[in-house]
């Protein structure tokens, strides 16, 4: 019970309503206590009638102490492993003001651009960095990691080049984890992957494209022009996996014919984090812009004609195009892309070049010194990585000597040693490195080379980052103010509730966040020897065990890096299981009409055929139609994907029947865990009958949304599916019949897992269950208070809903000419982030308050909605004109409200300060309503010339 929790306990901090509020809210709903309300909301047949078996809650201080102990068990060796992960110096001004700043990390994906101009500008900076450095003009706002970015490039290639039996060629010098992720993705799409030497690639009919790495995983810079020429002559596309820092010195792929460039922006100021989160990038030519995966930020204009940013070309995406989407990707890595972009803003082109040059020349100096010591260094053209070829016993001795000096070198083979340098490598490090290569350890200290060792043919001649934003902020004071200025343009949880349905914008507690930037978690390379990561091992073991208990499953895989990846992983696990039983033909995936668009997009990615199941008038899965479809496809049924509680926010009573019908017809049940926040402690996916479920740790388990990522999407599976879980080529995880590799890093974005660990540890079994109960109470309280004025679509017995409610705005279109967009934008004037617009039903708002919002905030939101209802009524009665009123002009910027000219039939005060509270504080929109069509018709996805802003007086 919340009223049993001591006021100082973490649960009492995490849960918004005070015990007295809970009582009053229950009274309004007509229930004597939370138990009675839960009994009425959650079907008895699925209830978990025992407490979760989890350790009892500890205090915030105790949790931090336990995490500190784990962090201290992680040993930070100097890492020369490379392979797409390079240590770097996070500029302190960026670490403190972005990575550790809730004003940035608690924001949501910028679906409401008027209150997201700050991070949209930061993302445009990131896109400009990627476009300039790769030499390819169309770039997106980040992907999950380099491996999945390469797989997405293959998917774009498959859509662009037709072939009956497509083949995709992969450079053997790609990072091994990239090859593994591409192979897994190709396998489910029916694409043959051939790994080999790109200079021997034969672009025969059927070959749709190739993936090469520049510089290669062995460090070598190779001239791919002949490969590109042969590929293009055969109609194939070439994707180049590359490194942004290297591209400050090297001729960019766009200048030698590449069609797509991908890679990781990690070394631009983002900690190693034992694998993530990091922002991957994706860039391509203009002709492929409608097939780019993920979110793309573009320039448009607002109603006042001023430049304004927003997400462009959304029709590519899964939420609109469903099974025909270009990709299933939703959450990206916004926070990390923002950091990478700001790293470039702070250093500027000359700063980046200096960093790159120092890394490169130290590498060249080391190579020279090693050659002087008689070692064989394999390649002459390299950027930051060299490979030494020696004999087996010598290699073993060198690795041992390195280990003794707390250094990790890469072992490419028993006789080949890789050394990758980075921004943090010092001259003292160079001396230590040279010493381990010599028996006895006495070697002259290498000096930084005086000149670049990059052959003339690869030296970059083109300029980059010439936009003023990359030249203005060199002093820390200027940088600090730029970051803060952008932050204040955005509405985050620091300002108001973000009641986005299906997104679970709950508290991201400070104590949960603090360990993220501890070097003991942030400083580990993902492929460091396991014995150096004992603290992480304990963290993973705890978290896997706890999530297994919470979901009722046998095993958890922490590898999937986002909910979309969890869906994909779960489905390929199911396919692998079917195949192990000789059921290769099982390829039909049933998906209810009401499903989130990601479900069908993921099914297609996993090589499944989507068959839609109808939804009945109450918004539930139509059981008769499900039976019909399951019967019709009984020999080919692979899986059903179902969200629970449903996307309509209801605990469907028929869920057990749904699972039973699918099982009886040979299928597996995939549960979409987006709505798990309504289940924790009350019921469990595994008990209900699901075989797999993904968990959005960034929803239910407190990882912040970061303005659109990072996320984490682990999956839980029943015992029979455990052998098929994702594995990893560099760090074997021991799954004998693994479905393949889903993410570039073995445990996805490991460095944000302390957040979810801390949440569960500090809430304990009772606190977690209370959180669920209050989340359900708060949603029902909002529905109850608004029902008389806004129809609540879909509810279960007793008119009750789960943890979110759908408010119908459609009736106002004919009565007042008001659409859902108008209400959403008007809420911005009241200081709120609008709820989810037009999902799962067009013309509606879906509200999810979460347990973390206080009753005062819930009431403030309800009062704003009721006030807007009165504003609509004025239009209905003819008092306010249909096309010139406070809603159709919303949101109102300070600029508009304070302008000398005012010709509207309502007052400035009503426009800008609709309630007394908004006078005390509100987050103003930075721009007026945005013209999305203009920007989609004229796509600009890099920083526009600064004159455009100046001319508009911005």
């Amino acid at each position: 019970m919340p009223d049993a929790a001591p006021a100082s306990s973490f649960a009492a901090r995490h849960i918004g309503p005070r015990p007295s509020d809970v009582g009053a809210m229950l009274e309004a709903l007509g229930y004597p206590d939370l138990d009675a309300l839960m009994d009425a909301v959650v079907p008895e047949s699925i209830r978990l009638r025992r407490p979760l078996v989890l350790p009892a809650a500890v205090s915030e201080a105790e949790a931090l102490a336990e995490l500190a102990a784990m962090a201290s068990q992680n040993q930070r060796f100097r890492s020369y492993l490379g392979m797409g992960y390079s240590d770097c110096r996070v500029p302190a001004v960026i670490q403190r003001n972005i990575l550790e700043n809730p004003g940035w990390y608690t924001a949501y994906t910028p679906y409401q651009p008027e209150i997201a101009q700050g991070r949209l500008e930061a993302l445009l900076n990131f896109q400009t960095v990627v476009a300039d450095l790769t030499g390819l003009p169309i770039t997106n706002a980040s992907l999950l990691d380099e491996g999945t970015a390469a797989a997405e490039a293959m998917a774009l290639t498959l859509g662009a080049v037709e072939a009956d039996a497509p083949r995709f060629l992969v450079d053997e010098q790609c990072h091994p984890q990239t090859i593994a992720v591409v192979r897994t993705r190709a396998e489910s799409r029916g694409v043959a992957v051939e790994v080999g030497d790109p200079f021997a690639f034969r672009f025969e009919p059927g070959v749709v494209g190739a993936l090469v790495q520049y510089p290669g995983t062995d460090g070598a810079i190779r001239d791919f022009r002949p490969v590109v020429e042969r590929a293009h002559a055969a109609g194939a596309l070439v994707t180049v996996a590359t490194d942004l820092l290297a591209l400050t010195l090297l001729t960019p792929p766009g200048e030698w014919g590449a069609d797509i460039a991908v890679g990781s922006a990690q070394r631009f100021g983002v900690p190693l984090g034992y694998g993530g989160p990091h922002a991957a990038f994706f860039a391509t030519r203009d002709e492929h812009k409608r097939a780019v995966p993920g979110r793309l930020i573009g320039v448009s204009r607002d109603r006042e004609g001023r430049p304004a940013l927003r997400m462009a070309l959304q029709t590519r995406e899964q939420h609109i195009r469903r099974e025909r989407a270009t990709s299933n990707i939703c959450t990206a890595q916004v926070l990390l892309a923002v950091i990478a972009g700001m790293y470039a803003v702070y250093h500027g082109p000359e700063g980046l070049r200096a960093i790159a040059r120092a890394v490169h020349r130290r590498t060249a100096g080391l190579a020279e010194a090693l050659r002087g010591l008689g070692m064989r260094v394999l390649h002459d053209a390299f950027f930051d990585t060299i490979v030494v070829e020696t004999d087996g016993p010598t290699a073993a001795r060198i690795h041992q000597a390195a280990r003794a000096k707390r250094m990790n070198l890469r072992s490419l083979s028993p006789t080949r040693i890789g050394v990758s340098l980075d921004e943090t490598t010092t001259d003292a490090d160079l001396a230590d490195l040279a010493a381990v290569f010599v028996a006895g350890g006495a070697a002259p200290a290498p000096a930084m080379a005086a000149e670049d060792a990059i052959p003339a043919a690869f030296r970059r001649t083109s300029e980059y980052l010439i936009h003023p934003v990359f030249h203005r902020y060199r002093s820390e004071t200027e940088m600090l103010r730029y970051l803060h200025r952008l932050e204040t343009r955005d509405l985050s949880l620091t300002s108001a509730m973000i009641p986005l349905g299906s997104c679970t914008m709950k508290l991201n507690a400070t104590t949960e966040m603090i360990p993220v930037t501890w070097p003991g978690f942030g400083g580990l390379h993902p492929f460091a020897p396991l014995e150096q990561a004992a603290g992480y091992r304990r963290l993973f073991d705890d978290l896997e065990a706890w999530l297994a208990e919470i979901t009722g499953f046998a095993r958890i895989s922490l590898q999937p890096n986002a909910g979309s990846q969890g869906e994909y992983a779960g489905l390929v696990v199911i396919r692998a299981w079917h195949r192990s039983r000789g059921d290769d033909q099982r390829d039909v995936c049933l998906i209810p009409q009401s499903a989130h668009g990601t479900n069908p997009a993921s099914a297609v990615m996993a090589g499944l055929r989507v068959v839609v199941v109808k939804t009945d008038a109450q918004g539930n899965v139509d059981l008769d139609d499900l039976r019909r479809q399951a019967e019709a496809h009984r020999d080919r049924l692979a899986a059903l994907m179902v969200t629970y509680p449903s996307t309509h926010g209801v605990f469907e009573a028929g869920i057990r029947d749904i699972c039973r019908i699918v099982h009886e017809h040979g299928g597996q049940v995939y549960m979409d865990g987006a709505n798990l926040n309504a289940q924790v402690g009350l019921c469990r996916p595994g008990d209900i009958g699901a075989d797999v479920c993904h968990l959005n740790l960034h929803k239910t388990f407190c990882i912040p949304h970061g303005g659109g990522g990072p996320g984490m999407g682990p999956i839980g599976v029943a015992e029979h599916l455990a052998p098929f879980l994702p594995d990893h080529p560099v760090v074997p995880l021991g799954f004998p019949q693994s479905c393949g590799t889903i993410s570039a890093a073995p445990w996805g974005s490991a460095s944000i897992l302390p957040i979810s660990w801390a949440y569960i540890r500090m809430m304990g079994p009772d606190g977690l269950t209370d959180a669920t109960r209050v989340a359900i109470l708060s949603a029902n309280y909002i529905a109850h208070r608004l029902r008389a004025e806004f129809p609540v679509l879909y509810s279960g017995p007793g008119g009750l809903i789960a943890h979110e409610c759908i408010l119908d705005i459609r009736p106002f279109k004919s009565k007042a000419g008001i659409e859902v967009e108008d209400v959403a934008k008007r809420l911005i004037d009241y200081g709120f982030h609008p709820p989810t617009v037009s999902f799962p039903v067009a013309g509606t708002l879906m509200v999810e308050p979460t347990e973390s919002e206080s009753r005062e905030e819930l009431d403030r939101f309800v009062d704003a909605m009721l006030a807007i209802r009165e504003e609509i009524r004025e239009i209905e009665s003819g008092e306010a004109p249909r096309d010139n009123n406070v809603l159709t002009h919303a949101p109102h910027t300070l600029d508009v409200v304070a302008a000398d000219r005012w010709d509207r039939p309502y007052s400035r005060e009503r426009a800008g300060f609709p309630t007394p509270e908004t006078r005390a504080h509100k987050s103003w929109p930075a721009v007026s309503r945005i013209d999305g069509a203009y920007g989609d018709r004229n796509l600009v996805c890099v920083c526009p010339p600064i004159e455009e802003y100046a001319a508009a007086g911005a």
Partner: protein, 129 residues
Amino acid sequence: MAHVPDDLRYTKDHEYVRSSGSAGEITVGITDYAQGELGDVVFVNLPKPGDTLDAHQAFGTIEAVKAVADLYAPVAGEVVSVNPALEDDPGVVNRDPYGDGWMITLRAADPAALDGLLTPEAYRAHIGG
């Protein structure tokens, strides 16, 4: 209320058909109702002249800011021309769906098939007008 000209024929998928008079050649576009439902059109993907289409075959897509729809051939035939103006100015579909916002011209394989299309009255009933 959406405009439904009396001199055109229609499909349930909201395409209109204008007969030019010459040997089964028709002009195909989307109706005023359809453009209103889609909102601001930002991109239209069309086939190439010479492509042959079956009746009801998807021949292209039309994209708005937050919606995408397939375009369907009202009858079987060969694509004669596509509207070149849509590439630079897709918004013309919203401004003038029955005029400059046309999509393709088609030589109907069987001109008699045109008689099977919806009349203006039937289309008005279809869109609830």
